[in-house]
């Protein structure tokens, strides 16, 4: 079986996406047991390379691999040979000597997964590369939506609000959401909206006038760099919050808020929403574990239906 990478959501067909979500669902009972571990990937080796800070993604990949009984190895840029100037190619060659089955990588540069994949026999899973893609985030978002809003997402209306320009999450989500028939509207100030993004099959708006049409409101973090002097993406966080921040007062009943984290309280999201049980933010973190278990499992066992997940549990 040729190795299968997951670098972009576009590496998956709709059937692949649905299979991953179904597989994740089949792992849920495992996560509810006292002993939250299955022997499925015993003897397999999974390396986590995080060249960029991460809480949710790195912890959930690590835990997902352990729940499946795989051996894991975690490396960060600080303290590794990267600090001594080793290239990604050489790191790939070095780690490949351990014959890992999967290398999960987060990297600040788009294209890093391609470089890694070209230099290893292991399957590469992209845990975020520059502003390019974050496909596992998209899959866990879909899973949370499916678990909370019904299995058929077709026709669901999602507003993605925030720094679209610099967001790998937005790009993966747009592709994955559209694949399952979700209607996507992007809202951002024009300075943070990529030119040409509407060709991805989304609506583009610069204010919240139509927010009432949303079933799901997906918020993106506003980084402080965007207001650095000379950047001129935003005049101030205060104005961003006033124009685009989401608080209870802006929502109608039934609208659900999602956020990939980490959140900036008081900027894109008001405390009354962040602390509200109705939001799906904590569920997204939970989904991250089940979905990443499913992705690791499918990457090693295969995407064919014959390898149905239930039978190996």
């Amino acid at each position: 079986m040729p190795k299968r990478d997951l670098i972009s959501i576009e590496d998956l067909s709709r059937a692949d996406v649905e299979l991953i979500l179904d597989t994740a669902e089949s792992f849920l009972p495992v996560l509810e047991r006292d002993i939250k571990k299955v022997p499925t990937l015993r003897g397999r080796t999974i390396i986590n390379l995080f060249w960029e800070a991460s809480t949710r993604t790195s912890s959930s990949f690590d835990l997902a691999a352990k729940r499946l009984s795989a051996d894991t190895l975690a490396l960060k840029a600080s303290g590794s040979a990267v600090e001594k100037g080793e290239t990604l190619k050489d790191t790939a060659i070095t780690l490949s000597a351990y014959s890992p089955d999967i290398i999960v990588m987060r990297h600040p540069s788009a294209g890093a997964c391609q470089t890694l994949s070209a230099n290893t026999e292991a399957s590469v899973i992209n845990a975020g590369d520059g502003k390019h893609q974050h496909p596992t985030q998209c899959l866990l978002d879909l899973f949370s939506m499916r678990q909370n809003l019904g299995r058929d997402l077709h026709g669901l209306r999602v507003f993605i609000i925030g720094d679209i320009l610099h967001s790998r999450v937005a790009r993966s989500d747009i592709m994955g959401f559209r694949m399952l028939g979700v209607e996507v509207t992007l809202v951002a100030p024009p300075t943070l909206m990529p030119r040409g993004i509407e060709e991805m099959g989304v609506k583009v708006e610069y204010d919240l006038a139509n927010l009432k049409d949303a079933d799901v409101i997906y918020l993106l973090r506003i980084q402080k760099e965007r207001i650095k002097a000379g950047a001129n993406y935003l005049p101030s966080l205060r104005e961003y919050s006033a124009l685009y921040g989401i608080s209870r007062a802006r929502l109608r009943p039934g609208q659900r808020v999602m956020h990939p984290g980490p959140i900036n309280r008081g900027v894109e999201i008001a405390a009354d929403i962040a602390d509200d049980d109705e939001n799906l933010i904590a569920h997204q973190v939970f989904s991250g574990l089940a979905v990443r278990m499913a992705i690791l499992y499918r990457t090693i066992v295969g995407y064919s239906d014959g390898a149905a997940s239930g039978e190996v549990l």
């Binding site: 540069s109 294209g111 390019h132 967001s167 790009r171 060709e199």
Partner: protein, 438 residues
């Protein structure tokens, strides 16, 4: 004034038999034998007989063309001879059918004094397979601060002046350069780029960059500087050459300036004529160049402009990079691709074969036009001319491979691809510079 140099060698005596000679400047497009005697074209005709010591080159089903001239190559010497030098770069050029090339000045150190230029000239005399000439820098160290001694550099043999790789960052600097270059009698070649619109740029800004999340380099980044440069050239009544034009908006600016009588010439690369930004999707660093591959609408406009003559010539922007520099994530890779060995094949295969461009026009844009901009007699396949010509097999299929290239680098977007048309023989300055034995 001599402005190209090459190593010495025996003058060619050769009968090129049975080929189709296409030399638009001489008004020739016919099956003709070409007799070269002591490095000069001495006779064209049917069924020419070779002398006793004259070798016969069988050119049946092949094209015999005036040799190509490249106004824009990076030969990386001095400083990065691990990527390219005069010997390998000129051999790559010969293999691509070129009979003269001009190296840009953004070396390390930059070509910003007559001493450095004279050293390069000596190197070319010792190593160059075909005549090689040199641009000198507009500013010392390409730092954009202080003009080079253009008078002395021009007298020492610089073909022109360019800070290529870097724009002339301010209107004042552009103005002073266009004024002062007149002391040399040469011209300035401008890498048009508004740096404030470039910051962090990775690829053309448009639907593909939106999709990939790579920081865009807007077409405005180039066209704004083209417009400004041409306004300054008009004001100063100075000639100016625009390097590697990549956008339709720049073409519009050039067209407007031409209509006002501005003396502007402009070049375009083979990659901008044949590839578009969709090629970036796989994040292969060999497709990362500056200016970036643009939208398909830009590409089509460039082809139309090359056809009409709004764009004067093809120039390769041959930019070799060490394998380890390109074998990194796309966002970390340097800009640039090689082009000397693939230029004609790519343009013939993509544009002439598809009838987007006729062969005669392509030959003019690769040979006659760039030679005139450099201030040379155009290469010609007519009796009396020095033998500056190439023979091309238009049916030959070949695969671009690291091992098969003469260049020391292989960062080509066509690496691993099959191309149509292969240069089989190049005569430059009357000598056999390249013969394809494959």
């Amino acid at each position: 004034m001599q402005r190209t140099w090459s190593k010495s060698g025996p003058a060619a005596d050769l009968l090129i038999k049975g080929g189709r000679v296409v030399d638009p400047a001489a008004g020739i497009d016919a099956a003709q034998d070409v007799l070269v005697t002591k490095g000069k074209v001495t006779q064209l005709g049917k069924e020419l007989k070779p002398g006793k010591s004259t070798r016969v080159f069988d050119a049946r089903d092949m094209l015999v063309l005036p040799g190509f001239v490249d106004l824009h190559a990076h030969l990386r010497t001095p400083g990065r001879e691990d990527e390219e030098d005069v010997a390998t770069g000129s051999r790559a050029a010969a293999a691509g059918g070129y009979v003269a090339i001009f190296a840009m000045a953004n070396t390390d150190p930059a070509v910003d004094t007559a001493t450095i230029l004279r050293g390069l000239i000596e190197t070319a005399r010792a190593e160059a397979a075909i005549p090689v000439g040199f641009f000198a820098a507009v500013t010392r160290g390409l730092a954009g601060e202080q003009l080079t001694e253009m008078g002395e550099l021009g007298a020492a043999g610089a073909v022109g002046f360019s800070d290529d790789g870097r724009p002339l960052a301010t209107a004042t600097l552009t103005r002073r350069a266009l004024q002062y270059v007149k002391v040399s009698g040469r011209f300035v070649a401008v890498h048009a780029q508004d740096d404030s619109l470039f910051t962090g740029g990775q690829m053309h800004e448009g639907r593909v960059s939106a999709r990939l999340g790579l920081t865009g380099i807007p077409s405005l980044c180039e066209s704004l500087d083209v417009s400004r440069t041409l306004d300054i050239a008009e004001y100063e009544d100075a000639a100016v050459h625009i390097c590697h034009v990549s956008t339709a908006a720049s073409l519009a600016a050039i067209e407007r300036a031409r209509a006002r009588g501005v003396r502007v010439t402009a070049e375009v690369t083979p990659h901008h004529l044949t590839l578009n930004d969709e090629a970036i999707a796989a994040l292969d660093p060999n497709f990362k160049m500056n200016p970036p591959l643009r939208a398909e609408s830009d590409r089509k406009a460039l082809v139309a402009a090359l056809k009409s003559g709004l764009l004067d010539c093809v120039a390769t922007d041959h930019a070799p990079h060490a394998a380890e520099e390109k074998d990194v994530p796309f966002e970390e890779a340097p800009f640039g691709c090689t082009g000397l060995e693939t230029a004609f094949s790519v343009l013939y295969g993509e544009l002439v074969a598809s009838k987007a461009l006729d062969l005669g026009t392509l030959v003019t844009r690769m040979s006659t036009a760039p030679a005139r901009i450099a201030g040379f007699d155009a290469p010609s396949v007519s009796p009396g001319a020095v033998a500056d010509l190439c023979v091309v097999d238009p049916q030959a299929q070949w695969t671009v491979s690291a091992a098969g290239l003469q260049s020391r680098s292989f960062n080509s977007p066509w690496l691993g691809h099959q191309l149509t048309a292969k240069v089989k023989l190049t005569l430059a300055a009357g000598r056999v510079a390249w013969e394809d034995l494959a």
